[in-house]
Symmetry: C2
Subunit: 173 residues, 2 copies
Amino acid sequence: MSKNEEIEEIEELEETTEEAVEEISVEETLKQELSEMEDKFLRAQAEIVNMRNRHNKEREDSAKYRAQNLAKDLLTALDNLDRALEIETNDEHGESMKKGIEMVREGMLHAFKEAGVEEIDSLGQTFDPNKHQAVQTIPLSEGQESDEIVQVLQKGYILHDRILRPAMVIVAQ
Amino acid sequence: MSKNEEIEEIEELEETTEEAVEEISVEETLKQELSEMEDKFLRAQAEIVNMRNRHNKEREDSAKYRAQNLAKDLLTALDNLDRALEIETNDEHGESMKKGIEMVREGMLHAFKEAGVEEIDSLGQTFDPNKHQAVQTIPLSEGQESDEIVQVLQKGYILHDRILRPAMVIVAQ
């Protein structure tokens, strides 16, 4: 082999190696890009599943507590109905008005119930700071349990598991 | 070149071609897979944007019409309040009860307004089949416009742009 031929052979060998390296490198790069893209796709897919779950939960909550604002704003009106029913009447007109008020009250409570709102059970119950607000305590009389609610000053209301307004009560201690 | 040498050369050439084809094929396959994966990723990304927009719209609508069910269920109670206020009173008790009822009515209408519910403007307005239900027509009198609402038998209510209940009216024609 001449010197020149040797050089040529070496050069050829080098070229082949470079080509091979280049080919492997292109393949490797593609493989890596594919792997990265797959990763991005899988993360996007996971995000879609998360969003769907989050939104379903939100939709459920939103439906469950839908009545919250309006119901809360109507509690004063309901209090006033209760108060109007306490007024004594002594004639026919007053009686028929009272019947009308009673119908309104029943209608409101029915609509409230449909929306998930109910009065908090208070009188005779054990005081529960989550549902009741004690505005006064009186000494325990005979036959009363400790922490028993003996008077309700203002009714409380609950929407499913959310307190719209705690009941204002007097507790025996 | 001997016959054998020639065959060897041809075989070598074939092998090289096969390898080249194989390498191109691997590269091409990878490129195609990458392009497909990229496509899947972009579609997932677009789906995320769509979901977000859809849910924002849904959330807005849900907030806007949140009061719909409860408000609709309370219309009868409101009608009964109106009716109770029409009863004549002739004593103190009746008067104070009436004041109580008036307060309840104001309170309900205020809560309704906060929730986006308002009475449909009817008396003296031109009949609109989207908001009013004509239960009777009477001949046009002097000074009345054609299709003018001359009496409201039952009030109608609207929640933003949604009719909760059309007004029941008598129309002059």
